[in-house]
């Protein structure tokens, strides 16, 4: 096999074709009657198919490629092989190369396949696709046109041609292809796809025909509402029409899902993949679709291919944790740590699983280790701070929140919790100082403003209080309807009471309690009734947050650890 692979590129400069089955169809091909079939005994000038550099390539992929190379070599070695057989062998090798990202080699193989089998649609089509994605638009156009001539009614080739011409700024030609594709296959009945309509819209927008653009984009969205990328085009159309509110509305709805182009030939390429990449993609898809058992199987298979793959162990751990198998997840993380003891991300993952298992001390240890290994990681500091606050280690928790705020200056929640840690430790002055700083740094944060107002209204230390200012802040919040209405209502009542407006305070407090009881939150309602009693007796509140307030028991949220195949630059 190796010998055959080695001489393969060298012999492909000129091949005499003995086509015993001229005009025969390869699977998936559709010869057009107007085109001549490959002739017998033609001398076809073939190009070199340079074998890709397989160093570093996944072993199953190498094997897959070598098998395909050997198959081609064997076909070529048969003196009686037909042009169709040779074309198919070149094309098959091209598809394997394309599946694994060797686009240059794939293109060279397709070119030979197309020379030997000029009636075969797919080789021209695949060539055009590869030329298009590498930016060789002129060559892509030639290849697509050959393909289109063989299948004049196939809509996806028309759409490809439309998009290609649009990319080349040949607007009239693009419009023509998009228009043609709006007719159903083999009929004269108009049945446009969202992709075709969106294409027509893009052309209209580029031609400054805004009314037409609007019509096409809206129709496209009606046909495929999930094609959220069209909202951007619509927004730009409304902008050109001077309709700013509609533009804003469309920008809000904007997404990254393009209109569907059903492309069975490209789908086929994806099914050819083997090896680590295929498993990673499959595992990621299974995770997204919450088929955790399938993901576990895929990641286990990845590990069997490469037992030194630390990240595969980590992904397997995540999949197991999501399946509820926390113990097994921890074991896989242990494997990962045996391979890479300094992997902070694995320690972080173990901390999260430990929380899930109720082992908060273990979680604290893992977060501390993650921080020791990489003090710049934000999440372990944040999770550790939450756990420390729950454990009433307030000063230490405060320090961790402070680190988070330092690493992420825009993180208002970390600043708020840093203040809460100080308040819980009884240091109201420090709490106020932190909140004042946070409020100046992030003036629009309603949670910080609310906390500051509450502290100014109800701190037991009179030097910390500023009742009039507290009322101004919370009234502004209520007026702006920012933040949590319940929290603000409680603060408003405190602030009113702090300036002696007890009757109004009691009125607000009663209304909130009634609302809570109506919502069947009687526990919370009971907590608030203590303050109501104070206000009814014309006394201000001097406990801004009770010791059992949920704010002091932040729940460590389970982070969605990514098991996705991270986007390599090559696929950007």
């Amino acid at each position: 096999m190796k010998t055959a692979s080695r001489w393969l590129p060298l012999i492909l400069l000129a091949v005499t074709v003995h086509d015993h089955a001229a005009g025969s169809q390869t699977p998936g091909s559709q010869p057009a009657s107007s085109q001549p079939a490959a002739n017998s005994n033609n001398k076809v000038e073939l190009g070199e198919v340079p074998p890709p550099d397989l160093s570093g390539v996944d072993p199953p992929v190498q094997e897959h490629i070598r098998t395909a190379q050997a198959a081609l070599a064997a076909t070529l070695a048969q003196p009686n092989s037909s042009a169709a057989q040779r074309s198919q062998a070149f094309g098959d090798l091209g598809r394997i190369y394309q599946a694994y990202g060797f686009d240059g080699a794939a293109l060279a193989a397709y070119k030979n396949a197309a020379k030997l089998g000029p009636q075969t649609f797919r080789w021209h089509y695949y060539s055009g696709y590869l030329q298009q994605i590498t930016g060789d638009l002129e060559a892509a156009q030639r290849s697509y046109q050959k393909a289109q001539a063989l299948r004049p009614n196939d809509r996806y080739i028309m759409l490809r041609l439309g998009n290609l011409e649009f990319a080349a700024n040949h607007l009239a030609s693009a419009k023509s292809w998009f228009s043609k594709s709006t007719f159903a296959k083999s009929t004269t009945e108009r049945n446009p796809s969202a992709a075709a309509l969106a294409g027509l819209g893009k052309v209209a927008l580029a031609e400054h025909q805004y009314a037409n653009a609007l019509k096409y984009f809206e129709e496209a969205l009606k046909r495929e509402p999930q094609a959220s990328s069209i909202h951007y085009q619509l927004a730009m159309t409304y902008r050109a029409l001077g309709n700013v509110p509609k533009m804003q509305e469309q920008l809000q709805a904007r997404g990254d899902i393009d209109p569907t182009i059903d492309d069975p030939l490209l789908d086929e390429i994806n099914t050819l993949k083997q090896g680590k990449v295929a498993l990673l993609e499959r595992g990621g898809k299974a995770m997204r679709e919450k088929r955790f058992a399938d993901a576990v199987a895929d990641y286990r298979q990845m590990i069997s291919l490469d037992p030194s793959d630390v990240i595969a162990y980590r992904y397997l751990g995540v999949a197991l944790a999501k399946s509820g198998k926390n113990g097994e997840a921890l074991q896989e993380y242990e494997h990962a740590l045996q391979l890479d003891p300094k992997n902070a991300a694995v320690h972080y993952s173990m901390g999260i699983v430990s929380i899930e298992m109720g082992k908060e001390e273990n979680a604290i240890a893992h977060f501390r280790e993650a921080i020791r290994l990489d003090p710049g990681l934000v999440d372990p500091h944040f999770q550790l701070a939450n756990l420390l606050l729950r454990a009433e280690k307030n000063e230490e928790a405060g320090r961790e929140y402070q680190i988070v705020a330092g690493l992420e200056p825009q993180n208002g929640f970390a600043r708020l919790m840093q203040a809460m840690a100080a308040i819980r430790a009884g240091d109201y002055a420090r709490g106020r100082s932190i909140l004042e700083g946070a409020s100046a740094a992030i003036p629009g944060d309603p949670d910080i403003a609310n906390a500051l107002a509450r502290l100014l209204a109800a701190a037991p230390d009179p030097s910390v209080r500023d009742e009039a200012r507290a009322l101004r802040i919370v009234e502004q919040l209520v007026q702006n309807q920012q933040g949590d209405g319940f929290e603000e209502g409680v603060t408003l009542a405190m602030a009113l009471a702090s300036v002696g407006r007890f009757k109004e305070a009691a009125g607000y407090q009663q209304a909130i309690i009634a609302e809570l009881e109506h919502s069947r939150k009687s526990d919370l309602a009971r907590l608030l009734s203590k303050n109501l009693d104070l206000y009814e007796h014309s006394k201000p509140c001097r406990v801004p947050w009770a010791n059992d307030d949920p704010v002091f028991s932040p729940v460590s949220s389970k982070i969605e650890l990514s098991t996705e195949l991270k986007t390599p630059a090559s696929s950007r």
Partner: protein
């Protein structure tokens, strides 16, 4: 890739480099007018002039993302002798416990950012003998981190240009002492930024006469949290930006006492992180206040419109410059702003990855843009290039801004890998000529042999290095030699140049717009700026090529502070320093 000798790498390019150098030498020896190489628009004169810098990227086979991203260069007059000196940013060893002995390409030692003093001699016939002297050691600049970019400006208004160096790691602020030396004032100035910064820019966003500092941060790459980034074949590959969390950019307000206040949060600049690679500061909506455009890699670009109260609002989506015309983000890297369309507004050009295309956004004067990438021909010309540095420069002084793009891949190029290249990311650079009708012609084939070299281009700074009245270029190749592209053609057309300095402080007034009004020809607008490009800092002087219409009726300056002044009778063919307040006020 470990174990490959640097000589193997050099061999890849050796022939082309030798050819280029041979041409350079012949040009250098002969009179400029008589040289056959004179037909080349640019000639590389790095080596003969003393620029011996070779970038070290620290790669060791681990595919660490930072190794393919650096680095940049600054053109600035650090010794105030009237010519441009050069600072080039250097890489370092990468990875936990790594040292240079593990590197795929052994570095040129000592490994540090290098300062080259311009000691060129200008001859009476107008020609120059270019000469640069490495003064790094004397300067005291110890840029030993993993360098990415550099911004140069006089932040403390003492009349001497300072340097801010961005790193993968902690950044550094180097204060110019005015005696040829610099002092590291990073901590005392309050401008230390850890993480991964790329492009930075000095900008007087609050119009108080003192330069503030924007630092563009990229992504949270960590050795302790490696990502799984593999090619479709399963081979290890470089990660793209989406594999990492983007880092928030930072904005520092100048306190006018040598220190800065971090106003990232208060200004709203930190409210959205998209992984910044390029930044350019200009007044995009003509309200007299400087805005910021940030080029982001695979996430929407940002147009931070100055709200005139110390805060900014990102309006890129509404303005139509966040995404491509299909509504998708591209891999935006380098950026420049200028009056590309000749309408007096700040248009934008942004470089992107191959398979995508470079953006040309035409400004309507109110800060809304129309995508002219396709109609201008720029999309077609750039589709097969991965662009980093970019500049709007009028290379032939015909009065229209052209485009120069410095290119180099970020993922392995199959054909080069197959041929055994140890660093298969090489591409050639592009030169596009503006025909004055909104369209650009690819003139790369006439640009000079240096444009046929295949290298991994990254940062570039643009400026008149030989003071002959045209724009030259110094560019940095990742894991390759720096190049000094001398312009052979621009000075043959009439030109006029200005250095715009403040009234109280003798520093370049970055952000000032200058207009040259001509008889029977369009008015030319240029902006005083050092920012833009990629990770680099350019000549802040403004240069006007006058083409065939050299009759100037007046020169007008729109200063950052808001007032407008005019001058008449200024001399052609030289640079004149215009001090704020020295012209006649325009009502």
């Amino acid at each position: 890739m470990t174990g490959i000798d640097r000589r193997d790498f050099v061999k890849q390019f050796g022939t082309a480099i030798a050819a280029a150098m041979s041409r350079s030498r012949s040009l250098y020896a002969a009179s400029p007018a008589a040289s056959p190489a004179d037909q080349d628009i640019f000639t590389d004169r790095a080596k003969e002039s003393g620029i011996d810098f070779v970038h070290f990227n620290g790669m060791s086979g681990s595919h660490y993302h930072p190794e393919v991203m650096g680095s940049g260069v600054a053109l600035f007059d650090y010794d105030n002798d009237g010519d441009l000196d050069i600072f080039i940013v250097q890489g370092a060893a990468l990875g936990p416990n790594q040292d240079v002995s593990h590197a795929t390409f052994p570095p040129q030692l000592p490994l540090r950012g290098r300062l080259y003093r311009n000691d060129s001699i200008r001859h009476p016939d107008g020609s120059s003998t270019l000469k640069f002297v490495d003064v790094t050691e004397q300067s005291g600049i110890k840029a030993l981190g993993y360098g990415m970019g550099v911004a140069a400006a006089d932040f403390n208004n003492d009349g001497w240009v300072d340097l801010y160096i961005t790193n993968f790691g902690h950044n550094q602020m180097w204060r110019n002492n005015g005696d040829g030396t610099f002092t590291d004032v990073t901590l005392e100035s309050g401008t230390d930024v850890p993480g991964w910064s790329c492009s930075a820019a000095f900008v007087d966003y609050d119009r108080d006469g003192w330069l503030d500092l924007f630092v563009g941060n990229y992504v949270d790459f960590r050795f302790t949290d490696p990502k799984k980034c593999i090619a479709p074949s399963g081979a290890a590959d470089y990660c793209g930006p989406l594999a990492f969390n983007p880092l928030p950019n930072r904005l520092f307000r100048n306190r006018r006492d040598g220190t800065f206040e971090d106003v990232t949060v208060r200004s709203q600049i930190g409210s959205a992180s998209h992984g910044a690679l390029g930044v350019v500061c200009a007044d995009f909506n003509n309200d007299g206040w400087i805005d910021l455009f940030v080029a982001n890699d695979m996430r929407p670009n940002q147009l931070w419109m100055n709200q005139r109260d110390g805060t900014f609002k990102d309006e890129a989506l509404v303005a139509g410059c966040a995404l491509n015309r299909d509504g998708a983000p591209q891999s935006s890297m380098g950026v420049d702003a200028g009056d590309l369309m000749g309408r007096g507004f700040e248009d934008l050009v942004v470089t992107n990855l191959n398979g995508q295309y470079a953006y040309v956004y035409a400004n309507d004067g109110k800060g809304w843009f129309e995508d002219q990438s396709f109609a201008s021909g720029v999309a077609a010309a750039t589709r097969r290039s991965t662009g980093f540095a970019v500049s709007m420069l009028d290379y032939d002084n015909d009065g229209w801004l052209d485009l120069l793009m410095v290119n180099g891949g970020v993922t392995l190029i199959e054909e080069q890998a197959r041929k055994g290249s140890p660093y298969p990311l090489a591409q050639s650079n592009l030169l596009l000529h503006n025909n004055g009708k909104g369209q650009f012609e690819n003139v790369t084939s006439r640009a000079g042999s240096v444009f046929s070299l295949m290298e991994v281009g990254r940062g570039a700074a643009f400026g008149d290095i030989d003071n002959d009245g045209d724009i030259d270029v110094v560019l940095v190749n990742n894991s390759g030699p720096a190049r000094l592209l001398v312009n052979n053609v621009g000075h043959k057309k009439p030109w006029i140049g200005f250095r715009m300095v403040g009234d109280k402080y003798h520093r370049d007034m970055l952000g000032t717009r200058v207009a040259v009004f001509r008889r029977n020809a369009p008015t030319l607008w240029r902006r005083v700026h050092a920012d833009g490009s990629y990770c680099s800092s350019s000549d802040p002087r403004v240069l006007f090529g006058l083409g065939d219409s050299p009759e100037i009726t007046k020169v007008q300056a729109h200063w950052v502070g808001g007032h407008v002044e005019e001058w008449t009778g200024l001399p052609l063919g030289k640079y004149t320093t215009l001090r704020e307040g020295s012209g006649s006020n325009k009502s």
